[in-house]
């Protein structure tokens, strides 16, 4: 086995990848060291720069139709560490930048220090760790090295956990501790797997490993299978798939709304994305058929259990958190569906798809649309709670009158979660459904449909209550009387996220060919039907 | 086996013997203060013997000086820790 040691730096597009990773990191370090009111300004500037970088990467990718690569310091893998932006990675980069920027607009002056104070605790922590979290997510989406991904996952954990208990109440601290223990267990299992893979192959780079594994197909060493099993278990704990979901609802509902939005929309997806990389880039899914079926079963269980639990909640934020448990379930259907016989093809809205591609595309669309919708929903719930002073679902009467924009955003986001046309959630679930039907695995379609009904159930309950008139003695009457014209920024940010999650469904399906960029070999490319 | 090797074996063996004595004291003495006593006295002596035994085997002068420094620091540390534990016992801290 011989590898080149040094490679020449690739085109300028590669430098953008470094910027996507390093800019938020730099922002976080600067926000921490300057502190005070400057922390927020630094975060906003970084968000702007980050949005530009993400957009530039997306442009570069679509114009060149090839993945972007970058090797740090010119050291070629396996000795060095490299980054790679393929279609899915770029989708995640752009989504993350959007959600984080909108969250920053929403958070606005919430975390500013009190008058006469140079610096407040929650402000410094929030702005610093939000940037840290962003850097970690970008590192995960772009990472090509198993150990580099481990470090990124750890940064993600360390920045997400303190956000959970930002308000310092006992129950949120308990939730944060539980979250940390689950996440740490997940990381350590992942690291163990990475070590076994290095022991078997002497490599950590995903691309090189994939080539090796496919080269000696059928003769994979036991180390690989044990490693994949351990890593999958660890990442599933971090993704909060049933039955490892217990940490999620208290953590996501206890955090301040701005943090909840990011945690639910993005952080769990970070771990899931690594899972996708393992099963789609490292080993082709059909190799682990039984495991894929089991993952699908957990996904279906999550859809149903999460839906039922959400239906039973009396608190809005807790309901939204359980809805995350359910929506993550859909993601795990990718494994059995994309792993099925890839030769099955069908034609839909002008595009010929094989079932595997349809499932993968549907899954990635689900990630993006859920990220946008769930962020919008948590932020809307946060605004409602802040205005009312509580978030009891039964006492939401009058919200529709008092905060129409916020409720509209909540409803639009709900559309996407339920999977009603024309939302992005609809496109995602429809593709999954078609893949299930076409590959003869009808039982998964049952879970998808039932899940949609449950989602409709708990969301209509909220909307129906909110549209009722408020009783005179309720908090809403006081709230309506007491508040002046609020700044439009937060409401618009929420509406933007919710609107995007719906508009996603109107993008022609052919455009999602983007997802296939930089992913040669594993799947047949999409073909346009004239 | 040269005379120096024999000397090393002898001193290190003696050191190990003292280590064992100290541990025996730690396990069998009735109260914390006497256990501390057994450890502090016997172990420091044992470590000293082992270091003396290793001196002819070490490179001269750097290795030998490092060995002596190790002993010196271990003495310093165990003395301080002995004092601190003793004080804690007298104060009645929860650790006993």
């Amino acid at each position: 086995m011989s590898f080149p040691i040094l490679i020449i730096e690739t085109l300028a597009g590669g430098r953008l990848l470094v910027l996507a990773l390093v800019l938020p990191l730099l922002g976080a370090l600067l926000a921490f060291s300057t502190g005070g009111r400057a922390a927020r300004r630094i975060a906003l500037v970084t968000a702007l720069a980050g949005l530009v970088v993400a957009a530039a990467i997306a442009l570069q990718l679509t114009s060149s139709a090839a993945a972007l690569d970058y090797a740090f310091g010119g050291w070629a893998p396996p000795l060095g560490v490299s980054l790679r932006a393929d279609g899915p990675a770029v989708m995640m980069l752009v989504t993350t930048a959007l959600v984080i920027a909108a969250t920053m607009v929403y958070a606005g002056v919430d975390f500013q220090p009190a008058a006469g104070q140079r610096e407040g605790r929650s402000g410094l922590v929030f702005w610093t760790l939000l940037l840290a979290l962003w850097a970690a997510l970008n590192a995960i989406f772009l990472g090509q090295d198993l150990f580099n991904l481990f470090v990124a996952l750890e940064i993600l954990t360390f920045s997400a956990v303190p956000l959970v208990c930002l308000n310092g109440r006992a129950e949120t601290i308990g939730a944060a501790l539980r979250y940390l223990l689950f996440a740490l267990l997940g990381s350590v299992l992942y690291l163990l797997g990475a070590g076994l893979i290095y022991g078997a192959y002497g490599l950590l780079d995903l691309g090189l490993l994939a080539a090796r594994i496919q080269a000696d197909a059928g003769a994979a060493p036991p180390a690989l299978w044990l490693a994949l099993g351990l890593m999958t278990a660890g990442l599933m704990a971090k993704t909060a798939i049933v039955p490892l979901h217990l940490w999620l609802p208290p953590a996501h509902s206890g955090a301040p709304a701005a943090a909840s939005a990011v945690l639910s929309a993005l952080v769990v997806k970070g771990a899931f994305f690594v899972l996708l990389r393992l099963w789609f880039d490292l080993v082709p899914v059909p190799a682990g058929w039984l495991l894929a079926q089991m993952q699908g079963a957990l996904g279906a269980a999550a859809i149903l259990l999460g839906g039922v639990m959400a239906l039973r909640q009396t608190r809005l934020k807790l309901m939204v958190a359980y809805s995350t448990v359910a929506q993550i379930g859909y993601l795990f259907l990718i494994f059995p569906l994309a792993g099925a016989d890839a030769a099955v093809a069908f034609i839909t809205v002008g595009v010929a798809l094989d079932a595997g591609t349809a499932a993968l595309t549907g899954g990635l669309l689900q990630i993006v649309s859920h990220a946008l919708a769930k962020a919008a929903m948590f932020l809307a719930a946060g605004r409602i709670a802040a205005r009312l002073g509580h978030d009891r679902i039964d006492d939401l009467g009058g919200v529709g009158r008092a905060m129409p924009l916020t409720l509209l955003a909540f409803g639009l986001a709900g559309l996407s979660l339920m999977g009603l046309p024309p939302s992005g959630g609809f496109a995602a679930k429809w593709l999954l459904l078609r893949a299930a039907v076409e590959t003869g695995q009808w039982w998964w379609s049952l879970a998808i449909l039932l899940g949609g009904l449950l989602t409709a159930g708990y969301l209509f309950r909220v909307l129906a209550t909110a549209l009722r008139e408020a009783p005179d003695d309720s908090a809403i009457a006081d709230a309506r009387a007491g508040t002046g014209p609020a700044a439009p920024g937060p409401a618009l940010a929420i509406l933007l996220l919710a609107g995007l999650s719906v508009l996603l469904g109107l993008v022609p399906l052919g455009y999602w060919e983007l997802i296939q960029i930089g992913r040669p070999g594993l799947y047949q490319p999409l073909g346009m039907v004239p | 086996m040269s005379v120096l090797d024999l000397y090393s074996y002898l001193l290190i063996g003696l050191g190990v013997l003292f280590f064992c004595t100290g541990t025996l004291g730690l396990l069998r003495f009735p109260d914390a203060l006497s256990r501390l006593h057994a450890l502090a006295k016997a172990d420091n002596l044992a470590l000293g013997l082992v270091v003396l035994g290793l001196l002819p085997q070490a490179s001269w002068p750097l290795g030998a000086m490092k060995l002596l420094a190790v002993w010196l620091f271990a003495l310093l540390a165990s003395t301080t820790v002995g004092q601190l534990v003793g004080e804690a016992i007298r104060r009645g801290d929860p650790f006993r």
Binding site: L26, G73, A152 | D93, F95
Partner: protein
């Protein structure tokens, strides 16, 4: 059986025994003490595995700092529980939590045993000859001007991991600080100086730091060519600082201190700056121009050593608890008085 294998087996049996004690010992204090001993024995095991750099890190961080931290935590929670229980007139003593049921215990034990068995099987079936990157590192190391291959991997080939790792410490510190109460924000962490008049500790705090600091700097300096480096040296410096703090010879800095924060972020920031300069002068981000690589690496390591030392010490010191306004008085100790009164 060769003598060395016999020694390895002995080492392993001690390690396993301590691991059992860590998991099964009832009093938390014994478990932590066993963990510290485990760390020291593990350092020996690292030497046996021909990983001296790791041995140094294990002894310093794995056993030393982690042990210190856990020991402090156990001491505090026992004292705290007893104190609160007495104050409320409850029976003193630590309430035992209900463990898991027998069925669940058995299930988990079986699963863990399965993992162990699977790992053992994998260890026995790892490919022979073992794949490794030794030839690559040997070929590339001369370009870096370094003599220690581990430092080469940490600061040149996988520099991005090391950069992220140094940043991890900063974010973990933000996380720990975030647990402060709002009024205490900007203030100082609890004083580490708990033992009121201990001449021995003060003497140690005066005698040891000069030597310890010298050793810390030596560890960093020698890291380029021999076992050692920023993490080992930084931990040594942190330990010395913590010693001085707990002897009461210096005051813990306030978390609002700009100087402290710059000290903590200085290493990663310099690392980033050098990384960017790679675009202009070298093969790319985090690359070094060949002629300059060793001095640049040493500069980064120097800054990292200081940053790591500050971050580690502040991590052990914990979240801020004392507003700076109430600074001059020493920490009130009503808790201890209370205990005395009850005895």
């Amino acid at each position: 059986m060769t003598p060395t294998l016999f020694a390895d087996l002995g080492l392993l049996i001690i390690l396993l025994g301590l691991a059992l004690l860590i998991t099964a010992a009832r009093p938390a204090f014994i478990a932590v003490a066993a963990y510290m001993a485990y760390g020291l024995v593990m350092a020996l095991a690292w030497v046996r595995l021909a990983a001296v750099d790791v041995a140094l890190t294990e002894a310093a961080i794995g056993s030393g700092l982690t042990g210190l931290l856990l020991l402090g935590a156990v001491a505090w929670s026992q004292r705290h529980t007893q104190f609160q229980a007495r104050r409320l007139g409850l029976r003193p003593g630590i309430p035992r939590r209900a463990g898991a049921g027998r069925g669940l215990t058995l299930l988990v034990a079986l699963a863990c045993g399965g993992v162990s068995a699977g790992l053992a099987w994998v260890v026995l079936t790892l490919p022979e000859p073992a794949p490794s990157q030794v030839p690559l590192v040997q070929a590339a190391l001369p370009i870096t001007g370094l003599g220690n291959p581990v430092t080469g991997v940490l600061l040149v080939f996988r520099a991005i991991d090391t950069l992220l790792e140094s940043v991890v410490l900063v974010f973990a510190l933000v996380g720990v600080w975030s647990l402060a109460s709002d009024p205490a924000w900007g203030g100082r962490p609890r004083s580490l100086h708990v033992v009121q008049h201990s001449g021995a500790l003060v003497l140690l705090g005066q005698l040891l730091p000069p030597v310890g600091i010298l050793m810390g700097l030596y560890l960093f300096w020698v890291g380029a060519d021999a076992p050692g480096g920023a993490f080992q040296g930084g931990t040594m410096l942190a330990a010395m600082w913590l010693l001085v703090l707990s002897a009461g010879l210096a005051e813990v800095p306030a978390v609002a201190s700009r100087r402290l924060r710059l000290l903590i972020t200085g290493g990663p920031l310099l690392f980033l700056a050098v990384g960017f300069s790679g675009w202009a002068f070298a093969a790319g981000f985090l690359g070094y121009p060949p002629a300059w690589s060793k001095p640049l690496i040493l500069a980064i390591e120097a800054a990292l050593t200081l940053s790591i030392a500050a971050a580690l010490a502040m991590l052990v010191a914990g979240p801020p608890e004392r507003p700076t306004a109430a600074d001059p008085q020493p920490d009130p100790q009503p808790e201890r008085n209370q205990q005395r009164g009850h005895r």
